[in-house]
Symmetry: C2
Subunit: 330 residues, 2 copies
DNA sequence: ATGAAAGCGCTAACAA
DNA sequence: TTGTTAGCGCTTTCAT
């Protein structure tokens, strides 16, 4: 691999001349620039980014950490990030935080290989985040509730969305409503539950303990939750699944037992993943503005990078999407 | 940010001692190691990965380039990559190759910021790939047909899969079969077309020009293709959409016009994305082993990194998944 | 068991 | 307009 030194020798100039010539600095004469360019060409020289990063003490790179890439709307989030990052001359890279005790986390965050990061992963430990964040590494957390310096927050209005979709069920006349929750670490799961209970209280409806089931946001766990519900009749009149994945699991369990949605029981989810439009019946759910989440988070990251220290947490609006699964008003 | 030098001073030893002590080298006495560890602790020292990368001339990091992260089965691919990479002490990072003329591409590949990469993107230019690949940067291409040194190839058997699923349609008695192709740059699209024509020829069925339509693998283009077909009756007896996305577009167009699948017309896709199980009717398609694609590609990358120069291209088996959309044999 | 010193490839202040 | 030089933070011989 040719280095800048090789180019300098070949062109008969010093390294510094090559360095500045390559950034089209007008200080270097056009004729020498040409010679340098030829040397670059013939040697197949490409600058070593790592050396530059070390010298410059920054990488122009930011990371997005996702718990698993499979998440159904991550692509939109990442587009949002990418659009903003590129406009600042940054390239975003995406890494999964799972696997091998977070090798990628260590390597990218703890070892300074990126200038900042956006994190959407309930499982990354709070201590680690606090430790690693700093003036040279601002961190924007999505759907987390951690305070700390150089730690910023953006979230969707999970509570509001859950409140509204629960109100929708209540307005449809349902009272016996089951809730299938997410894993306890997930703040968004907790907020959705708060929204649910809030609406129930608002309508003066008591919660039934046996209708509160814990899942883990997987289709599997939705399926299991439906089994649990089925084993202890009578069924509730409606189910609010903490996310669409679990709602789809419920749907599968019900279709196996020929229980009709929404005729026998209404069902709503949360997230508005693409699949919800294609299930039978199509699923009523709550839409999160994922693209915007990405852009807003990235904008905050750049403000932090620019030196702004305190930035208020941002909460983005969600929107109830009514489809067939919650029944039709007659 | 504290550096190794700060730690050395604080602990009253030399930089080199700190360096080796930190990798638990037995040469350094336990008592000094303790002192060093304390210094690390109190200064909050974390090694600078970039400096190490520069010195070591490698990053222990590999990249996966995807055209867009949204791709429905990328997550499985990435899991496969991750599992193998981690076992080699590497962390994979994922980057989108689109946007801003491939800033990420430049930065990660051309500037040595990763030790190797896996590329799944028909749009990245062949020249760039050839130029950038080298002994210090092996590249594994998925679904591409580029020869070059330090360029390796893995692909699913698109042609075989397409052949088989077309045979399935033919065996169901269909003869007038339309094909909706992918964008011309995509080798996999071409191979699927080859498989299709191969099966048609095998059955001695002539292709009708008006039934060959070009799409671009988006749902949109499938919808448009269906419109085209509808505008020039009679309809074919079956449609082979080059991928599931387009098949879903076709389905949408047909449902709007109340054309029944498979009663009025049979339909098959390709890829076996998750959605195909949930469409109405469920979609017959061809399954690609995405996880395996990831593991195999990564293994090849590490063989190349270990010095193996010529590695034969690998082709992985695909499998026809028969569901309702292709009709039932009576 | 520890330290001194060179150097990875680049940039930028300062000199000439 | 170009060259000299120092140094980014680390690892690693080679001395001691």
């Amino acid at each position: 691999m040719a280095t800048i030194k090789d180019v300098a020798e070949r062109a008969g100039v010093s390294v510094s001349t090559v360095s500045i010539a390559l950034k089209r600095d007008p200080r270097v004469k056009e004729s020498t620039r040409q010679r340098i360019l030829e040397a670059v060409q013939s040697l197949g020289y490409r600058p070593n980014g790592i050396a530059r990063d070390l010298k410059m003490q920054q990488t122009q790179t930011m990371a997005v950490f996702l718990h698993d890439l499979g998440g159904p709307f991550y692509s939109e989030l990442v587009s949002g990030v990418q659009d903003v990052a590129l406009s600042h001359g940054y390239s975003p890279i995406v890494a999964c935080s799972v696997g091998g005790k977070g090798v990628a986390l260590e390597r990218l965050l703890a070892e300074n290989r990126v200038d900042g990061a956006i994190i959407l992963d309930p499982y990354i430990e709070e201590d680690f985040i606090r430790q690693v964040a700093g003036p040279t590494l601002p961190l924007v957390l999505l759907d987390r509730d951690i305070e700390g310096s150089y730690v910023y927050r953006v979230t969707s209005d999970h509570e509001g969305g859950a409140f509204n979709v629960t109100m929708h069920l209540l307005e449809m006349g349902h009272r016996q409503i089951a809730f299938i929750g997410g894993p306890s670490v997930s703040v968004d799961g907790q907020l959705r539950f708060r929204g649910f209970t809030g609406a129930m209280k608002h309508f003066g409806v008591d919660l039934e303990k046996r209708f509160m089931i814990l899942g883990d946001f997987t289709e599997q766990s939705g399926y299991a939750a439906a089994q649990t519900l089925l084993s202890q009749s009578p069924l509730p009149e409606a189910i609010f699944a903490g996310n669409d994945e679990m709602a789809i699991g419920v749907l599968r369990a019900f279709s196996e037992r020929s229980i009709r949605v929404p005729e026998d029981i209404a069902l709503v989810g949360f997230d508005d993943i693409r699949l919800t439009q294609h299930t039978t019946p199509a699923l009523t759910t709550v839409h999160q503005p994922m693209y915007e989440l990405g852009t807003v988070a990235t904008q905050i990251l750049f403000r932090a990078l620019a030196g702004e220290e305190t930035i208020a947490p941002v909460i983005l609006e969600t929107r109830v999407v009514i489809r067939a699964s919650s029944g039709s008003r007659q």
